[in-house]
Structure formats: C-alpha cells, structure tokens
C-alpha cells in the first residue's frame, strides 16, 4: 500500500507540473501569436483536458487523506480482471485506431493535403509508439 501511495503522490506531482507547464505555454503562445481560426475550439478541448486533470488531482488527494478511499482505489487499480480488461481493450483499440486513421487519410487526401499529412504523422506516431512499447515490454517479461 505504501508503494501505491508513493505512486499516487508521483502522479499528483506529474499532473501539477503538466498543468503549470501547459498553462505557462498557453499564456506565452497567446501573447506571441494571435489566435487562428478554430482556435477557440482547440482552447475548449485543451481546457477540457485541464479540467479532467484537476478532477484527478482532487480525487487522488482525497484518497491520500482517507484510508478507506485509498484502499478502494488500490483495489480498483490492482484488480487482476481490471488489468486484463485494460490490456485487452488497449491491444484491440490501437490497431482499430490506426486502421481508422488510414482510411481517414485516404479520404482526406482528396480534400485537404494538410489534414492528410497530419493523419499520416499521427498514424506513424501511434504505430512506432506501439512497436517500441511492445519491444520494451517484451524484454521486461
């Protein structure tokens, strides 16, 4: 349980650093460059991510100060069925996402080349990340 507590504390530190860094980056970028078309949509999406992170920080902090909630969180996190579910959904979802992006890439190549190249970059990134992760995990097991 102590290890889990330390892991949660690390998570809180990481989320807090991310929040501070992204907030600073946003302020600097908004000062340097005027907001482009569709910028409000991006900002809304970004704000959503930040809100989710704040929610997680709050949730973890509550658990860190309450033994019952910490135990419940520990059980949810270490439950072997949940771990297996995460593994199966992850390994199933990634190929579907890559295939979906491939189809979207072909369709977008007829409409907008920038979108097509962005999707190509995203697909390549997802594929390379998956391969590297698998290689690393393969060595550890």
């Amino acid at each position: 349980m102590n290890e889990f507590r330390k892991k949660l504390e690390r998570k809180v530190r990481f989320f807090s650093c991310y929040l501070c860094f992204s907030g600073m980056l946003f302020v600097i970028m908004s000062r340097l460059f005027p907001m482009s078309e569709g910028g409000s949509l991006t900002m809304g999406f970004f704000s959503g991510i930040l809100l989710v992170m704040i929610f997680y920080i709050f949730r973890i902090n509550t658990a860190l100060h309450n033994e019952d909630k910490l135990k419940q969180m520990f059980i949810e996190e270490t439950d072997e069925r949940n771990i297996q579910l995460r593994r199966i959904t992850g390994s199933t979802a990634i190929p579907i996402v890559i295939i979906g992006m491939g189809i979207a890439m072909v369709v977008s190549s007829f409409i907008n080349m920038t979108v097509c190249l962005t999707l190509l970059g995203a697909s390549l990134f997802a594929s390379i990340t998956t391969i590297i992760t698998r290689l690393i995990v393969n060595k550890t097991l």
């Binding site: 520990f74 059980i75 949810e76 270490t78 439950d79 072997e80 069925r81 949940n82 297996q84």
Partner: protein
C-alpha cells in the same frame, strides 16, 4: 473453467463484497468468477483457496476438454 466459489460463499454466508474485500479484488471480479466468465490467476486462485481453507483443486474444476 468451473468453480465452487458461489457454493462455498453461500455456505459460509459471506457476501460478494465481503469476499472481494478479503481477496483485495472488486466485487465485479467475484461476480465474473462465479459466473465462469473469468478465470482467476494462480495467485488469486491461491488466495481463494486459503480463504476457504481448501486446495485449489477442490475449488476449481479444470476441464481439459475446454482447453482443446
């Protein structure tokens, strides 16, 4: 793989939540185990066996035909 978890749990008048808490798993895992939808790992099977004071073979019925 079939198991006698539900039978043993009811005989001992233990709720699913109590068993889940004792084994450090979620109640959903107990439900899935009892319904035969999920096969426990060796570690969990051992914990269950210790909890009921029995051996793994007494609780879990391994059917080789299911694996073929």
């Amino acid at each position: 793989m079939q198991n006698k978890i539900q039978e043993l749990r009811k005989a001992g008048k233990i709720t699913q939540q109590e068993l889940a808490d004792a084994l450090c798993v979620t109640r959903q895992t107990i439900i899935s185990l009892e319904n035969g939808k999920y096969n426990a790992s060796l570690l969990l099977a051992h914990k269950i066996a210790v909890f009921f004071g029995m051996t793994i073979e007494d609780i879990f019925i391994f059917n080789e035909e299911d694996q073929l």
